[in-house]
Amino acid sequence: MRIFRSQHLPLIGTVGVLLTLYITASVMYPGFFSLRVLANLFGDNAILGIAAVGMTFVILSGGIDLSVGSVLAFTTILIASLLEKGVSPLLAIPTALAIGSLFGAFMGFLIQRYELPPFLITLGGMFLARGMAFVVREASLGITSPFYASIQDLGIPLTDKARLPATAIIYLIVFAAGVLLTHHTRFGRNVFAVGGNEASARLMGLPVARTKVLIYTLSGFCAALAGVVSTFYMGSGNPAIGMGFELDVIAAVVIGGTLLSGGVGSQLGTLTGALIFGVIQTALVFDGRLNSWWLRIAVGLLLLVFILFQRTLSRTSLKPT
């Protein structure tokens, strides 16, 4: 029972920070506390959030994936140039998702089969996907497609002023699927087991190899899906987009209370982490006086606080080291 509580303390802390930030911003900026802003919070952070769902699997298993920003960029420019050539979006999007997943599977295979450090392999993957994005096309490309226009018009009206945009709907679906997969399936439990202790997971007869390859496949899929959502959101493909994005994603997961050593964490925490990013960003926009670099400093400080907090927790709790 005690372990249960101490494992959930980081999550409670994260939710507390989110609520504090949200309430403070609502008090400080008139118009912040509205359904419209809340709905946009999900819509604007869908790209970060979707990639973070995949990253949560990776970090839960004790690994890391540095390639998500580049895979995202590759997906956006691939879709944009396929559409320009007259390919139907209904074919282009699944193709892009399949390539992203295969790319992740390839990295997972190298990491698993040859016992290589995820840090280096995904670093290589990052360079590779970025370069490939520029090979597809060197400059950004706008998307003009009736399908895109209808997606961008899509949304669930909440009130006469607010509506839940399509990107937010996709995010919520991915999040729900992530929760299901992480916390309610055998695969999810295997991920936790691999992250907790890979050797014992193997000795218990769990399919460690398959799980690890699947984890990176999922992360690649999520990064590609984030790219698809990015094309919805931006209405264009850009090979230079998402530089440093992987670090934002990792930061969102860590702020969400997932331990980087693996084995402890939750998708709900990651959602909270991504929303904290969003609240700070929206508050900076509302304020107008503060510049965007304050976001970086605030996120850095939050990371510091959360990691120190986690550290004290894992020292006092029974978590094996």
């Binding site: 190298l110 016992e115 280096l120 590779l128 670090l247 990691i307």
Partner: protein, 338 residues
């Protein structure tokens, strides 16, 4: 005789310089054949000019970062914040020079702040016990914001001749940046191979607990390693600012931390720590720079340059994996018997 041979060997201990040297050699041969005038070095105004000189000059930043990174990785850690520290150092120096504070004071202040940034990393790793990737990730994310704060989001330009000399000047006919790299390298080699510090570092990277039980001041060494990496990043940041006569906080040193890690790993230092080779890292840094220059020479757009880099990383990783080598040997064996 054997004693001196052993000594020479100990200088190279940690990894074989053979493979990075072969890689670099192949690239040079490739360039010599396909890029006309690659081997030409001409003397203009008493200074040497040429493609190879240019590689050394352009590669100075990564070489400096790689020197610091080698020690960090040798101790079993990694430092992701070097790019951000570069931005901070450049911003501080440019802001102070612009405010007409003397150049020595500005440079010292910039390097001092770089050391403090490294100290923050070091304390987080050694005292708070945070994983190095994460501890340095914090500064990587926040550091660039701090640099933007110092320059107020602007690109600060300067004309101070002394500062400009640092990244563009010549010394003994060679780019001054080369002198900076060589002095840093020589001091680091002396410090790590002629004193016990190198041994301490390797024992720390190999087995921290065992090192501590044998009386190695692990916390102090660990902290100092990150301070040193910060210092190297600071110097690289000053050179980067001087190169373009401006402090561009948002772009300087972007992704350079990954180039530095790449240089160290290609050079033969294992990411798991425990042994390191400074000369290998220098070769690795030169390899990256030559790769980039080769791309330019071949007319490959600079944006596509990450692809060959990625292939080299993956190849090096695979060759370092004992499983992969077994796999290859097994394949070769099967072919031989068939």
């Amino acid at each position: 005789m054997t004693d001196s041979l052993g000594k020479v060997r100990s200088w190279f201990s940690g990894g074989s310089l053979f493979w990075p040297a072969v890689g670099l050699g192949l690239l040079f041969i490739f360039n010599a054949i396909f890029a006309s005038g690659f081997l030409n070095i001409e003397v203009r105004d008493g200074h040497l000019y040429g493609a190879m000189i240019d590689i050394v000059h352009q590669g100075a930043k990564v070489m400096l970062l790689a020197i610091g990174m080698t020690l960090v990785i040798g101790s079993g850690g990694v430092d992701l914040s070097v790019g951000s520290i570069m931005a901070i150092a450049g911003a501080v120096a440019a802001a102070m020079v612009q405010a007409n504070i003397g150049l020595p004071a500005a440079l010292l202040a910039a390097l001092g702040i770089a050391c403090v940034a490294g100290l923050c990393n070091g304390l987080l790793v050694s005292v708070a016990g945070i994983q190095p990737i994460i501890a340095t990730l914090i500064l990587m994310v926040a550091g660039r914001g701090v640099a933007m704060l110092i320059t107020n989001g602007q690109i600060l330009t300067f004309e101070n001749p002394g500062f400009v000399f640092l990244g563009n000047g010549h010394f003994l006919g060679l780019p001054f940046t080369l002198t900076v790299v060589l002095v840093t390298l020589a001091l680091t080699l002396l410090l790590t191979r002629k004193t016990a510090i190198g041994l301490f570092l390797e024992s720390l990277g190999d087995n921290e607990r065992a090192a501590r039980y044998s009386g190695v001041p692990t916390r102090l060494i660990k902290t100092l390693v990150y301070v040193f990496s910060g210092l190297c990043a600071g110097i690289a940041g000053l050179i980067a600012a001087s190169n373009i006569k401006a402090a561009d906080s948002s772009r300087v040193g972007e992704m350079l931390e990954l180039d530095a890690i790449f240089a160290v790993v290609v050079g033969g230092t294992a990411l798991t720590g425990g042994r390191f080779t400074l000369l290998g890292s220098i070769l690795g840094a030169l390899l990256i720079q030559t790769l980039t220059t080769t791309m330019y020479n071949l007319g490959v757009p600079p944006s596509v340059a990450p692809v060959p880099k990625a292939i080299v990383i993956l190849a090096v990783c695979l060759m370092q994996s004992s499983k992969f080598r077994e796999h290859l040997l097994a394949l070769a064996g099967r072919k031989a018997t068939a």
